[in-house]
Assembly symmetry: C2
Homo-oligomer: 771 residues x 2
């Protein structure tokens, strides 16, 4: 029996402090928890009315306890910890009941010891989402956790998770916690209307919890944390890609266009409403006849100076906006149209156009059509939009880069139409980084499921009667899964670095380079996602085909990633153009003449004959040497750049039209772009390794990096052999080294996917949950 100590808190509150403390230590209450708490609180008969009020006050995620209150709780807990016997402190409930006894007001012993009270507290504990194991972990420091994580891995997956998560680990963990809530539990919803409604509801819930405000400046009600916004998007992609994309449309595209292309008047008018879901919007850029070729959009916005207005019009059926997310739910659209003034077009600009009134009735002159069922993302309401001569006030032009002045003259700080157009398109860069990251997230989910299944599933024995072999012990299975883990580590690091660079680049000084990297990494990461998810699905056999095991949605939802937010093949051509001009010229379409002219003196890299000792060096130390990897990657990129430049110059010398010359080299340019992006990924991986002190994590991570590098070198062994960069003995030695690495990584493979730190609820796969 502990000594009574005079605490200023009532016994009821004391009994609940362990639960409150743990709930708030975990920093976030989820929607279901809130709901449950409010429901449960009335059942706590042993509490006074004031005590109930006290607890309710601390069950609103938007009103965390003040530091003083939190310190008071800590003090009470510390006192209890010293006096309560460890046996009694084994659960939050019994600890709380012991603490209640320390209050000076503690009287009704029988009330606090009744089975009803204990059950009520257990329910409350559940409502707060604090399960005993984790709670104890938090209360007692991390001793339990460390004990638990002692698997047979050579490293600690939790530490590795920190390395993977990078600078935004905190918000990512907060999202993980939020998304584990049953409210977000995976469901197979085949009816699109139901799925869209749920997606909209969940988006509103995210807004209620403040997760839609990170991207916007503080002065307009946002949190001004773009990096964390990207991290939220990335983590949301573990859960449901419809919700992720819907958030992307509302916040990234619609909100992003207003923030990026509008001026203060628009920011004030719209941002707060849109981040709080009072204003739903869509981003009406793509038209049926013009997808990749944005410059060719046909929707017009003709300026009328007499009325100080624009007339927005869809000139013909196939100039309608298509695939527009949020089309069925939105109030307003940011419409991209040719700004025409005095009969001449100033190029594509963005305009705010009303689509529906507040009651959801369609505005006159707007026609909307559902895109119907899609391969995936059926929680997103994609539609088509047509505008029939709709008049909008002049102020609805998002006028940051181009405007019509009071005298009716078009004005812009950017003189070149080309440059203005590409500056406006720059608004897409965050979307591309985000989609790349979402692709990696989807891959991580697939890899976690397939790896855990592959470690559990057995099939075939060496001899009849012997135990069957674990799938992951088959070399074929290791070859399917582990190089994909390594590649996703690499692209995860590269995109994380890029997101960081993007956020840092406030003055747009490195914009050209960042846009190129975003285009390239988006393309390669989303193709990697398609390949990864497919391989993982097949690696799970029939189980992988059942909707209950998640691949159905992962595959179908992520499939569009390769062609939206920029078609991958088109994006890689932009990257190649950037490389040709060392990112000095506009890297978007057009301008071939100038690019070719630019090539003239710029690229004169000579490739000397390689030393045969080098090309035939099969020493393991050499083959595992990061410098060798980096050099081999760089050599390929440089030589592709050099040879394609030469080819194009030769075409020009023979007076071939520059565009035709470009087409003749198209496959060569695509190979160059891919080589560049593969090197970027290796560079980020290497850089991340350099930041680490020697540790078990660094050791295994270095092997994963080796595997990525060697896997890519082997993928291109034909090229390296063709170009005499390596001899056959060397490529064969690399293959042996890859096999060796796979065997070495095999015991750590579960740790490597555990480091993705995707909670089981978020994986949402029965084959994992029931393992």
């Amino acid at each position: 029996m502990p000594t009574r100590q005079n605490l200023p808190l009532s016994p009821g509150i004391l009994s609940i402090i362990p639960i409150l403390y743990v709930a708030w230590s975990d920093s976030i209450l989820s929607p279901s928890e809130m709901q449950m708490i409010h429901k449960n609180i009335s059942q706590l008969d042993f509490l006074t009315k004031d005590e109930k009020k006290y607890i309710l006050a601390f069950s609103d995620p938007k009103s965390p306890p003040s530091e003083d209150v939190f310190r008071q709780w800590q003090k009470a807990l510390r006192m209890a910890a010293s006096s309560v016997s460890p046996a009694k402190a084994s659960s939050l409930v019994s600890l709380g009941l012991e603490m209640a006894k320390t209050s000076i007001d503690y009287k009704k012993d029988e009330l606090y010891n009744s089975p009803e009270t204990i059950q009520s507290l257990i329910d409350l504990q559940a409502a707060f989402g604090v399960n005993t194991k984790e709670s104890t972990r938090i209360l007692l420091g991390y001793d339990v956790a460390q004990e638990e994580s002692q698997n047979n891995y050579s490293f600690d997956p939790q530490v590795m998770a920190g390395i993977l998560d990078g600078k935004n680990a905190a918000i990512k963990n907060e999202m993980r916690k939020l998304l584990r809530d049953p409210y977000f539990a995976h469901q197979t919803i085949v009816n699109k209307e139901d799925y869209r409604q749920r997606t909209l509801d969940q988006l509103k819930t995210l807004a209620k919890h403040g997760y839609t405000s990170y991207a916007f400046p503080k002065e307009f009600g946002g949190l001004g944390k773009e990096g964390q916004h990207i991290a939220i998007f990335e983590t949301l992609a573990y859960h449901d890609l419809s919700l992720t994309v819907k958030l992307g449309v509302q916040i990234g595209l619609f909100g992003g266009a207003i923030a990026g292309l509008g001026t203060q008047i628009h920011h004030k008018k719209y941002l707060d409403d849109l981040m709080n879901m009072r204003l739903l919007g869509c981003f009406a850029m793509t038209e049926t006849n013009h997808g990749s070729n944005v410059r060719g959009l046909e929707t017009t916005a003709i300026y009328h100076h007499d009325t100080r207005s624009f007339i927005i019009n869809t000139p013909h059926e196939l100039a309608g906006k298509e695939y527009i997310g949020n089309a069925l739910h939105c109030h307003k659209a940011v419409v991209f149209a040719q700004l025409i003034i005095n009969g001449s077009s100033k190029g594509v600009h963005a305009f705010m156009v009303d689509v529906r009134d507040e009651q959801g009735n369609l505005m006159p002159g707007v026609r909307v059509e559902d895109c119907g069922y899609k391969m995936g993302l059926n929680g997103v309401d994609n539609g088509k939009l047509w505008f029939d001569n709709i008049e909008i006030p002049k102020e609805n032009l998002l006028n940051r880069y181009g405007d019509v002045d009071d005298s009716g003259v078009y004005v812009s700080d950017i003189k070149s139409d080309d440059k203005r157009f590409f500056t406006m398109l720059g608004a897409l860069v965050t979307g591309r980084v985000s989609v790349g990251l979402a692709g990696v997230s989807a891959s991580k989910v697939a890899l976690t499921i397939a790896t855990k299944y592959g470690l559990n599933r057995k099939q075939f024995a060496a001899k009849e009667g012997e135990e069957e072999r674990i799938l992951m012990d088959y070399p074929s299975h290791q070859h399917r899964i582990i190089p994909l883990i390594a590649s996703n580590y690499a692209y995860g690091f590269a995109l994380d670095d890029l997101a960081h660079d993007l956020v840092q680049d406030k003055d747009h000084k490195n914009r050209r380079l960042i846009e190129s990297k975003a285009a390239g990494l988006k393309a390669m990461a989303t193709w990697l996602a398609t390949d990864t998810i497919q391989e993982c699905r097949e690696a799970c056999g029939g189980k992988g085909y059942l909707a209950e095991n998640r691949f159905t949605d992962l595959k179908a939802d992520s499939d569009i990633f390769t062609t939206f937010e920029g078609d991958n093949t088109v994006l890689l051509q932009l990257v190649a153009k950037g490389l040709l001009t060392h990112f000095k010229k506009s890297f978007h379409d057009g301008g071939f003449n100038s690019i070719i002219r630019y090539l003239g003196g710029q690229i004169s890299h000579k490739f000397s004959e390689l030393n045969p000792i080098y090309t035939r060096n099969t020493d393991t130390q050499h083959l595992s040497d990061r410098d060798f990897h980096m050099e081999a990657f760089a050599y390929r990129e440089k030589k592709l750049l050099y040879t394609v430049s030469q080819r194009m110059q030769n075409f020009i010398k023979r007076r071939v039209d520059p565009y035709e010359a470009y087409l003749k080299c198209q496959m060569h340019l695509l190979a160059l772009a891919k080589a560049y992006v593969e090197r970027l990924a290796l560079k980020s991986f290497t850089r991340r390794l350099e930041t680490l002190d020697n540790s078990p994590e660094k050791r295994v991570l270095s092997k994963v990096c080796d595997l990525y590098a060697i896997h890519i070198l082997l993928k291109h062994k034909g090229w390296y052999l063709e170009n005499d960069y390596m001899s056959g003995v060397k490529t064969k030695a690399l293959r042996r080294l890859e096999n060796k690495l796979l065997q070495e990584l095999r015991p750590d493979v579960e740790g490597l996917v555990d480091a993705f730190a995707i909670p089981e609820e978020l994986l949402g796969a029965k084959i994992v949950l029931y393992n």
Copy 2:
């Protein structure tokens, strides 16, 4: 005005003869047509009651007109053709009306010339599914058709279609005609119950038209045309893969097991009922814990001699049958279980077990659970099945290869348990050939849609103001699409040849080789399908993501092909084992010791140094030489076989356990199997070319074959360079040649997909229909 001629037919009948004749020339009436005819016939006021009866009699697809009647019609038509002016013969209706006038009974001129009559006849013509263009084609020979097909291709797609369709062109065309019927029109049905019901209804319709009877012997009510059965399956895969798979389960697996593993008693009892859908059945082989490893199945069938019965039992939850198609609809199951007699197991055998009574009530002791939503094939009712000590009579053992005699002793003509097991599994071979073909069919649909879209869609111009360029004119687009067309041509030929070999192999003399080929071609063709459909979807951008454009279903439905009917990776290992033993030993799992022993003296192929003139020969004639292709393919296969045999022998010499030795070489074995299958495809392609006389079709087909060969050689250029079979100058020359072939085939690309002869209704893609 034609001269009246005394014909024995009444004017009403004469007026309809052109329609009847064309309908029956086309040889098949579809379900919608039948329904429409019955509906329309009452509206034909100008017909007498007898005339109506006459027509009704000829609108049942199961009662074709006799040869005499048909000849009578022909005679009437021929007479009319000579007398009716061509202008009047421009439609079936006007021709019919002119013919009516030739009857001796022709009186009521005004009746036959009334607008109502003409409209009625036009409606009837539509009901019979004979549209004027096609009808005229049939009546006037093929003149119109030839005129129509004069596109800009260098060859005639219709002739090419005949080459692709091979020996079973007639039944394939019959199926194409049937499936164009609106009854089979594509729908997006997201609710699985609705989709399953529709699939079951369509299967019953196929049965009503007799398309489920081809696989079975005539003596039991079938048509005894297995080759045509496979062709039906293949063509059905253009339409809906759920229906295709459902047919495969009912006829191929359930029916096939009874036909192949049962004896006359079972054939008599079940075959007629099952081909007419009075008896629905499932094929309960796979268990949750045992998929690929069929030999390890845990369901037991214990023989009790006192009651002359077996007790079928699922020993534990995870020994339940899983993924079983038709599980929710079936009356009976063929259950694969360990036959246990006097306490010892005789291995896996098949048993007839009642699942539901005729009213659809579940039998006692059977538990069924829905597999729920799947990635695709949601029209197939896959489920799980558990059996709780169900007693079945001894006769329910499908006893062709093993039986229990009257004294209760197990007897079998096949002494070796191993051999018996693999003989029984041989029943799966037709399924594998069929699935491979269905994979190619799905690819063909995807390629047709993507090619037509790529020829219609424009994006980006060289300069602003110029016309945008057709997607298919971009080299990147040609590289995406055309090699896949070539590969699907190759695998189509190989599978067509294999299906033919299978049907010919009545005495099972070539069984081992056919099984190997089926395993290998199934694996490679279904992976090709996955790749093809994915590439085609991406090549259509956002349009490819909409359900209305077919890729949604194609991709999701065909995805399981890579892991069902034998997991592809497992199948390729069987192929490799077959190669190691020259198809002399059982190629299924197990038996490694003997395979390794077998290797001893068998493989001693020596690889002499290659002539450097050969390895560096970049002459176009040499690179396009079929002998060079065949030799290069064969060299790779032989060398892989030689080196893997050597490696395994070396392991054995070092006393490595044979199974471990096999695992160490697993990736090598997989490469060998793939090389073998790639060569098979080239060989079939080459053989098909050799059967053709010189013609435009042969010319273009030869280029397609070049492209397939060179595409595969380039895919493996790393290997060829590593093994000094080719030098870098040669692989680079091959790449140039591939580019040249793509350009040469570009003008013919639409013809190449038109040769798949998939009617637009069957493509079911809006982007094609509205082009």
